[in-house]
Symmetry: C2
Subunit: 492 residues, 2 copies
């Protein structure tokens, strides 16, 4: 098979995976830097050295400006990159500059001829349009091109990527994605989010991704077009985007903008470079401002790529460590518009459970109310509901600080009573779950409202216990951590 | 004067400053990596190349193990560092290993002899003690040593640093700090937070810093001992700590731990290195695990220093950009215990106003309720209260989208009415403030509860307007941004 996608680690809807096309493969999440077929700001050799395994280039521009050369050399030699090469169809350019006699067939033929590994079929981007009828038209047209391509061209050497259109209309996105999957596309690409992102409509972006991801099988990877804004990467990954492409590193650089994980800043507004990449370690803000504009743009673009690469690696590591939810929360704090997108995110608890492991090696963080929507918490509650099996008529809630002793108590008395402990946010759970994730591994902030002993007692009575007894300190809200008492001290 | 501290930029209680001792200076916030006088994991030449301008070393260990050599060579040549050298007194070691015949006088004499730039007088650390009487004793003893030193030894070549003790007892910290300032110490150092930090009691740490900072003049710089945990840096800087020292980069490295801005991770639990520093760019998790333990510790320690250096630079840049509040919020999201410390932070709004500029060049972010405690918001409200001067009996609230037209309206009608606009969180403000920071520069999340038109009307009536009229769209809550309407779309 020419195409394979294997999920190795997952958290929420984010996955670390291996995407293989023919003899080439990339590890996902993966960013494909956009390479201009003619003007090259950062050499591909440099991009390769930085560790990028794939690049994206534009087949339309190549067709219109280096057609013969590309056909003869192949796209890999032309852009001087022997990793994975994805080509965009040029739907946007056709729209912008007229069709110049190039249609679905020509685009497909050309992409195959130059040996693209992954090629998007010719589409009609919805763009930023808020007209439903226009959005419908783009979905129809894009789908027509996609179906024609996949019917007329075998997937060798090129694997076809299905373009999902529909703009910000969820039902159209769904229609588009469903039809592409049905037609046999092994890989989809969500179009047109660039303008949505440029206007910082991150909540809308999140809804677009959710609408698409919900409509396609978990095993189908999803590409997000033009998603080079550093702030959106963790959110997009967590909602199930596997690959990205972006020319943002160049575009920002040309305008003198510097990418950080906290957002994009104008170099002229900066005092210190907040990065340890090879570019930044060797220079300073003054150093960059003191050189020629063209040279500065190249250095800025290179830094920007390092910064984006780092963000991808941070996402990958967060998935592997099971801390993707936390990463999304941290990054979302960087901008109020991104903070709004969190609401979409927390509403999708059920969807996010799909890829979230039931067991993790790290503590589970609960900072505040929004974290109660974590899929790990929901999974734990479901597990808890199944775990409570009444073995007697008396329940004992143990509130002592040491789970070990509680367990001993549970074992020694031979099940004449059922022993429970209190989790700060789970309420009463059987002592048998004491060392089961995440009951004792949950670390919550003081501010998070816990289940009270009175509530816990009521819950157990509801489950049929005639008697509920509390053993140990009767604190009102129980917490798993011992806390300090000083700072507002009293004499010892 | 041998000592000078000049604040160049400030935000909250954080400052970018220049700290000068004799002919040497460092830019603050500044981290002094701890150099062991005998065993050197990362060469000082390397530390210098990384851009660190100062180091910290221990005069007690030097005294007990390299006394003659140090006296002859001087501390700068001994540790091979020509930047600023700060020496700790060894109070902790005296406590731990007995006094070995070394007292306040010997420690001071020795530090001066070896030519320390900054030297802490011999103190008795409170440590983690929760005994008030013991804490009182440590304050008394430390103060005695400090006063004796500053009386008996001129500040040349060495500038004395006054050790603030008192553990987590705010009144003792205050007593300690106040006495040191009164005695003429130009620079104080807050002791004993290491254990508090190691047990992740970040709220307590915040309270300790606040108690100290409140007791000393704004112009006196404050050092925080042993503060090498990456998570605490922005919080400590924002509460007014100017310099730090830490051996954490080595200690973590020896235990195989890797510093990130999201916390400290065991290398064995990692999949990918999430850093672009010179160490990480040249290797991988497998690469680091595959080498000898000693070599690995050196590489990890070097990476850890790069990571800490970056965090210091991020703080510096955040101060210069006026985004320190945002940075603290972002970083605090990384751990529930740190999230708790935010509460202390938001309570100190009045204190934080001291260093916060009234005008900033960037948008003001309001993500949620906690951000309403931002000093910028309070300053704006105070300014607003002064700005409202009733010029007529009729108030008009303009709700149109364009501030420009509102201004024109205000001017053209010759003040027969007073024109107001609605700020998303400020309520009605005079149109004259339209382009004044932060009234039109505030970017708030959808979720932040705004002032309603009804409330605004009531507020203006209270201020004596007989008539209050609304011109423009009567939306219930007004927002400064145009929002998208699609995603739950209706046909156009």
């Amino acid at each position: 098979m020419r195409f394979a996608f294997e999920v190795k680690e997952s958290d929420l809807l984010g996955r670390v995976g291996s995407l293989r096309v023919g003899g080439r493969s990339v590890e996902t999440p993966c960013l494909f830097p956009v390479i201009h077929p003619v003007v090259q700001t950062v050499p591909t050799s440099e991009i390769k050295r930085m560790g990028f395994e794939g690049v994206m280039t534009n087949s339309y521009i190549m067709y219109s400006r280096r057609r013969e050369e590309a056909a003869k050399m192949g796209v890999h030699r032309l852009v001087d990159f022997d990793g994975m090469v994805m080509t965009d169809s040029g739907g946007y350019q056709v729209l912008e500059y007229g069709d110049l006699g190039i249609g679905v067939r020509e685009v497909a033929e050309f992409q195959q001829r130059i040996g693209s590994d992954l090629a998007v079929t010719l589409d009609k981007p919805t763009g930023n349009s808020e007209s439903r009828s226009y959005a419908e038209e783009t979905v129809r047209e894009s789908l027509k091109g996609a179906l024609k391509t996949i019917r007329d061209f075998p997937d060798d050497p090129t694997v076809w990527v299905g373009p999902v259109q529909g703009g910000t209309f969820p039902d159209l996105l769904k229609r588009s994605a469903t039809a592409l999957v049905k037609a046999g596309f092994p890989f989809l690409a969500l179009g047109s989010p660039t303008l949505v992102m440029e206007s910082y409509r991150f909540a809308d972006l999140a809804k677009m991704i959710v609408a698409t991801r919900e409509s396609i099988p978990y095993s189908v990877p999803l590409h997000l077009f033009g998603a080079g804004h550093p702030l959106t990467m963790p959110l997009a990954v967590a909602l199930g985007c596997d690959t990205f492409d972006s020319a943002s590193y160049i575009l920002f650089a040309r305008r003198g903008n510097y990418i950080t994980e906290r957002g994009v800043v104008s170099l002229r507004q900066m005092k210190v470079l907040t990065c340890n990449c090879p570019v930044c370690v060797g220079t300073s803000v003054e150093g960059l401002l003191g050189i020629q504009e063209r040279q500065r743009a190249t250095l800025l673009a290179t830094h920007n790529l390092w910064a984006l690469r780092r963000e991808v690696e941070v996402c990958k590591e967060a998935i592997a460590e099971g801390r993707l939810w936390d990463l999304v929360q941290e990054r979302a704090t960087a901008h109020p518009r991104l903070f709004e997108a969190l609401e979409v995110f927390t509403k999708e608890g059920r969807l996010l459970q799909e890829g979230t492991p039931a067991m993790k090696e790290r503590g589970l963080f609960v900072r505040g109310g929004a974290d109660l929507a974590r899929p790990e918490v929901s999974i734990a509650k479901q597990r808890l509901a199944r775990a409570i099996r009444k073995g007697s008529s008396e329940a004992v809630i143990l509130t002592g600080p040491n789970p070990q002793s509680a367990r001993a108590a549970g074992n020694s008395e031979g099940r004449q009573k059922d022993f429970f402990r209190m989790g700060p946010i789970y309420g009463p759970y059987p002592v048998e779950l004491d060392f089961v994730y995440p009951f004792t591994q949950t670390v919550s902030s003081e501010g998070v409202s816990g289940v009270t002993l009175a509530e816990a007692t009521k819950m157990l009575r509801k489950q049929g216990y005639a008697r509920v007894r509390v053993e140990g300190a009767k604190r009102n809200t129980l917490r798993s951590k011992q806390r300090s008492k000083a700072v507002s001290p009293s004499p010892p």
